[in-house]
């Protein structure tokens, strides 16, 4: 069971897609919930569920704020999440035989 080395929080299709998307942002950037949803082609309910799980692991930071009177939610990969994703991609590369 080689997958044992892969972080189970990240190693699931939908959560990996969420984390990979946030990790692809330039450092210090975050996305609004609807924009993240659009980049993932996910339903709002689905994305919320996955975000909750990632938030519990402290991999993402979800901030609810107001832009004027409109509520807005911003999602960002935390430092912990970024480090975990880097570990995950390294493990993945190793398991794939070092071939990038």
């Amino acid at each position: 069971m080689t997958d044992a080395e892969l972080d189970p929080v990240i190693h699931a299709q939908s959560r990996l897609r969420v984390v990979a998307t946030l990790a692809a942002l330039a450092p210090g950037d975050r996305l609004s919930f609807p924009r993240l949803q659009q980049l993932l082609d996910m339903t709002a309910g689905n994305l919320s569920t996955h975000l909750r799980k990632l938030e519990e692991a402290s991999y993402v930071t979800v901030e609810k704020t107001f832009e004027g009177r409109t509520p807005a939610t911003y999602v960002e990969l935390s430092a912990t999440g970024r480090a975990a994703f880097e570990r995950y991609t390294r493990a993945l590369t190793d398991l794939l035989g070092g071939a990038r």
Binding site: A24, S32, L92
Partner: protein, 217 residues
């Protein structure tokens, strides 16, 4: 508390593919595309200054107003397209890129507005039309050069920095050569430089190492 049905186990190659796909998607849709921006400005300068060059043979005072109108419309279209492109890409984005992009975008607005006022001052002081034309071209190219150099520094992009150096050179030469050569320099070296910028941006995009830029390039 809703429970999510467990997803099918993910195989390694599929995981790699997901990471690559999302990385490409974010880089190509959430940040501005320099090919588009340099392409717009290569066209605006190439065609706009090209038209002015074509009708400038009999001196700046005899240039038909239609040529200036074409030039004005092209520059305005460039500004509007650049803003729309950046705004669309930046929608839903917050953080460092948004703040950097906003300040960088405003730098263009402030610089060119100040340049207009400065040129107005020169006209009021009695600078003849030939001098006004040279000043307008030189100042425009100089602003572009300086802000490209600044953009190169901001986004650690050597290609853009080099283009900025080139545009500063264009500014100097466009003023030195006088009329009507100034328009030829702006069209060929200025517009051409931006076309090279678009080409370099295309190469960077292909290699997947285009800078993630939020503002106006």
């Amino acid at each position: 508390m809703t429970t999510q049905p467990e997803e099918a186990p993910l195989d390694l190659a599929a995981a790699r593919a997901i990471i690559d796909a999302q990385r490409t998607r974010v880089r190509t849709t959430a940040y501005s595309d320099d090919r588009v921006i340099f392409g717009i400005w290569a066209t605006a300068w190439g065609v706009g200054y090209g038209v002015l060059w074509a009708v400038s043979g009999d001196g700046v005072e005899r240039m038909p107003w239609g040529a200036w109108a074409v030039f004005g419309v092209l520059i305005l279209a460039g500004v509007v397209t650049t803003i729309l492109h950046s705004a669309r890409r930046m929608s839903g984005m917050d953080g460092v890129s948004r703040r950097t992009g906003a300040m960088y975008g405003w730098s263009w607005m402030v610089a060119f507005t100040a340049a207009q006022v400065l040129l107005g001052g020169l006209a009021a002081a009695g600078l003849p039309p030939e001098g006004m034309t040279l000043a307008a071209n030189g100042i425009s190219a100089l602003i572009v050069g300086i802000l490209y150099m600044a953009g190169g520094a901001l986004w650690q992009d050597r290609a853009q920095f080099a283009l900025g150096v080139w545009m500063a050179l264009v500014a100097a030469v466009a003023t030195l050569v006088g009329l009507p050569g100034t328009f030829a320099v702006m069209c060929l070296a200025g517009g051409g430089g931006m076309a090279v910028g678009a080409l370099l941006a295309h190469v960077a995009q292909r290699r997947g190492n285009a800078p993630r830029r939020g503002g106006l390039a």
